[in-house]
């Protein structure tokens, strides 16, 4: 009899654990199309969102948005109830198209217990400038010719083939950029930065984050300032740039060829490669960080 009772208990306990690890996912999908004209910009403002911004072929003057807003909870009723906390709004005011996904709670209502997430796909005309703000999520933008301005907190950015210049402010969110043209400006804190195929000038100001930049033949002036973070600059065996490196309370590591002039001034280690005037510059300054050129 005791054995049977034990089996019952075990059965219900196992069932309970399984229920705990299974989440009921309630997803509200919203799709919208918004008229676009030349000169209009798109402003995306979200939280807990995974955002994709893609380009649509030229001539299609429409911005389309698809938002999957989810609430995840072991209890279906709770998930359904918490789903209502998601607010998704699109509007056009003047020449700005606003897309917002946020958690809006009426006064007095407690924070949702469910895990809330959004997946938002925005398709814009290629030349449309985009401004994006996101917290706790990620954002991927690709194949855009308009200017891009990004602001994130705990938001990882992946940027591919952006031709109209990029400006990024990021805290606790890594920035991975490839094929970037125009002026690239990054200001990061506790974020790793990786950039390659840069076709213009680039400035990076970073704190507590590793930086890796591939400076190719098309890369213009590159200026990196890093506080408490290591910097790696890849130039290849025949660097096109003149290079100046300054590491205060840090180290500088350069290849044996071409020959860098090295030295130390106080607590700062320096290395320099000057190949004649008229060449673009690479300038790296670190405090408590190591500089590596390879």
């Amino acid at each position: 009899m005791k054995n049977i009772l034990f089996l019952f208990v075990l059965f219900f306990a196992a069932g309970g654990m399984a229920a705990q690890s299974t989440l009921q996912v309630v997803t509200k999908t919203v799709q919208k199309s918004i008229a676009w004209k030349s000169g209009y910009t798109v402003e995306i403002n979200c939280e807990k969102a995974e955002i994709d911004v893609e380009a649509i072929p030229a001539g299609n003057n429409t911005v389309t948005v698809k938002a999957d807003l989810t609430a995840r909870h072991p209890q279906l009723d709770s998930a359904k109830y918490d789903l209502a906390a998601w607010k998704f709004v699109t509007s056009t005011v003047g020449k700005k198209i606003y897309i917002r996904a946020y958690i809006g709670l009426p006064s007095g209502r407690s924070l949702p217990n469910s895990n809330l997430k959004a997946k938002i796909t925005v398709r814009v005309p290629m030349e449309c400038p985009v401004t994006l703000t996101n917290k706790f999520g990620k954002a991927r933008l690709e194949h855009l010719n308009g200017a891009v301005r990004l602001n994130g907190e705990f938001c990882a950015f992946t940027l591919v083939d952006l031709q109209g210049g990029v400006q990024v402010e990021s805290q606790y969110g890594n920035v991975d950029g490839r094929q970037l043209s125009g002026q690239v400006e990054l200001q990061t804190k506790r974020s790793a930065v990786a950039l390659s195929d840069l076709n213009g000038n680039c400035n990076v100001h970073s704190e507590y984050g590793a930086i890796s930049v591939a400076a190719g033949a098309q890369t213009g002036n590159l200026y990196i300032q890093s506080n408490k973070g290591d910097v790696i600059v890849e130039t290849g065996s025949l660097p096109r740039h003149n290079i100046n490196l300054f590491a205060t309370y840090g180290e500088v590591k350069v290849p044996s060829k071409p020959h860098f002039e090295t030295g130390t001034s106080g607590n700062t280690k320096q290395a320099s490669l000057q190949q004649g005037t008229g060449r673009p510059q690479i300038s790296v300054e670190t405090t408590f960080g190591k500089i590596t050129v390879q």
Binding site: T27, K28, T62, N115, G173, R190
Partner: protein, 202 residues
Amino acid sequence: MKELNHPTLQAALVRLPHYEPPVGVWESLDAALALDAALGDSAQQLPTYAPPTAVWENIAAQLPTARPVARRVNLWTRYAVAAAVAAALFGAWWLLRPMTDMNASEQIVVTQETMNQQVVAAVQENEDDAFQWVENLCASRAPVCEEPEFKTLKSELDELTAAKQNLHTALGQYGDDPDLTTQLVQIELARTQLLQEMMQMM
């Protein structure tokens, strides 16, 4: 109306002082009245002259412009003006209004997912007691907590702790996002590094 205090009033009037006009006043008045009468007769006999037209034109030019007299507006005109104003306001709103979507659709779907227990366990890991120990130490105003270098480390630690709490709140009880959890682990590593540096100073 009948005067109630007639005797009192009479007595007061009797007591008022009496004055005589100065000598010659009556004669002066009489002479002035006679002069007016004489001028009145002479004025009737003066010739009449019409002023040149230019005089009136000059005077008219110097006069301030008269304000137009407000016309009486009838009720229908008022209605028309009100309608025009309303139409103008509506037009302005129409141009500046938040534009509605060309088209929109919405649907709700329920599915099930298995929570990634390994990720959730990493998120819900208890705070190491050593962090609370440092908090208690500084709350008791230990001398080491007043050292500038320690303060810098503590400030950094506080910043990371706040970031960790924000991430915890965002992930919630059922958060199993691997990317955010990785970020959380990195923060925890940085906090541990700071804690070690602080411990070495004690």
